[in-house]
Symmetry: C2
Subunit: 309 residues, 2 copies
């Protein structure tokens, strides 16, 4: 990979990927309309990259320069897709076409981050790539369309492409977004515990998630970019470990030394009870394995959170 374009590069996951590529000395261009990401997320690397403020979904979208790899992370957030399915369609579907057309013109490989939520309620555990799809929101449906379009562009136009569905990502710079009512459990707990507020658990707290540290996601994405036969294969990036909401809170309490007694509220309707994903396919195809235990990842998050308050 001699150079890379990162769409959505000023977002949570995107900015970590930018940081990693800059560290490796790879010239990086970021395109982002800053609708959800922020320049603040890129403050450490801003002189090392080319930043283009643009909307990937606009008609006639184009970018000069040749890119070996296009990491396509820009997305319309899940929590907004029900309120605005039209904008969701525009960003996730028309934006995908724009990215694929750009890749076709410039001979780029596309690394597309999709969404493990597409599997819906798990029929077996751990969920692997053979699990049937059951998109439950316009967001799920348009991310799935993006996967199909990527494979179609590979088959018909020979645009190399790798697709990753991500487990529940956490890490530095992930924020609770009140406006979007987007409350990732790790970010929310961390904020509450470190601010001496009462964490809220919906239901009994025995519901589980596969929590992946953002730097493990970045590792998987960069391994994907090096894949020779980028033929539209779909891979899950996960830890293969199940963590309950109660265990997560206990681990946070243990690491911070702050006593935090949770308040229990009614379960969220439709909340998935147990979730864990296999990363065996990503291991086999690109040599991916997670490097961070939950404790190691959380420690880094807490340090960041304490320094930025």
């Amino acid at each position: 990979m001699r150079n890379a374009l990162i769409t959505g590069g000023s977002g949570f996951v995107g900015s970590h990927l930018v940081g990693e590529l800059v560290k490796r000395g790879i010239p990086v261009t970021v395109v982002d309309d800053l609708s959800n990401g922020s320049i603040e997320n890129l403050q450490d690397v801003l002189h090392d990259i080319t930043f283009v403020k643009d909307d990937i979904s606009r008609s006639g979208f184009d970018l000069s320069g040749n890119f070996d790899a296009i990491f396509h992370l820009a997305t319309h957030p899940r929590s907004f897709s029900l309120a605005d399915p039209y904008r969701n369609l525009e960003v996730n579907a028309k934006g995908m076409l724009n990215v694929l057309e750009l890749a076709k013109k410039r001979g780029s490989k596309v690394i597309y981050t999709s969404n493990s939520g597409i599997y819906g309620e798990p029929k077996f555990l751990p969920v692997d790539e053979s699990h049937p799809d059951d998109p439950k929101t316009p967001y799920d449906a348009t991310k799935l369309l993006g996967e199909h379009l990527a494979r179609i562009y590979f088959r018909i136009h020979h645009v190399p492409c790798v697709i990753f569905r991500l487990a529940t990502v956490y890490g530095e710079r992930q924020k609770v977004n009140e406006k979007l009512n987007w409350r990732p459990v790790v970010a929310e707990f961390m904020r509450r515990v470190l601010n001496g507020e009462t964490p809220v658990i919906y239901g009994d707290g025995e519901q589980t998630r596969d929590l992946i540290y953002v730097k493990d996601v970045v590792k998987g994405l960069t391994l994907g970019a090096q894949m020779d036969s980028a033929d539209g294969e779909l891979m899950i990036l996960s830890t293969g470990r199940e963590t309950s909401v109660n265990q997560l809170l206990e681990t946070l309490v243990k690491i911070t030394g702050i006593e935090a007694k949770p308040r229990h509220e009614a379960p969220i309707p439709g909340d998935i009870r147990r979730m864990v994903y296999s990363f065996e396919k990503a291991k086999r195809l690109v040599g991916y394995e997670p490097s961070y235990t939950l404790e190691a990842g959380l420690k880094r998050c807490i340090k960041w959170y304490r320094c930025t308050r």
Copy 2:
């Protein structure tokens, strides 16, 4: 069903559906932008219906009136989707959102015609609804998105909805479209045989299709509109019969009495070798069964073709 809206009602399948509903005395509104359909297709019923020339995919699309059923047949054709994936996305995806939003506002049931091509190369025969999806063109991918969006609107907004994937439809008013390079095999053979031209067979002619007469499709769609639990179920409308291209030509020769020796050309790359679909689910859920044998359907087509030349 006290009244119905039919999108794409001036197209091949749409106009047959309009005719059937008018015959039953149901007030029908047709919305069509006439990009592919034509008013000619509706000439016999034009005083009996309300015709609205409009593009279902435009921003702010709306229609006054309450509709018990919306038959959503308007689509961007498959053969154009590779050349113009953006317009394809607009018509098939944004158009679908517009139709679902209209149904949500007006309390309508949506009967959505999708595409059996989504299954791709068959992994078993007959293909049934459990067969995995493998969309091969932007058209397939956006029709599949439409199915997902319909189910999501049912789950979240309680918009009743029935989804049909159609086998290879033939019948009166189906035309070879030179501009789109769209040559449905029955229409093409019929035109050539009746005009005394040499029919062309690509490959050995032993490739098979499930050929469904348009009036059987109309029957399935109207049965779907009567379904009580319209909960986003997907059903195939087919005949369950496999007909080879050679058999089709032989049947045409037999019915017309015109000797037609075919010319063989190279097989079309990616042409599916065998295809037949099960209609068992549609039979079980809505009581659908095909009424027309291939011979019966072809006879009606030939009569129409001879009268309109």
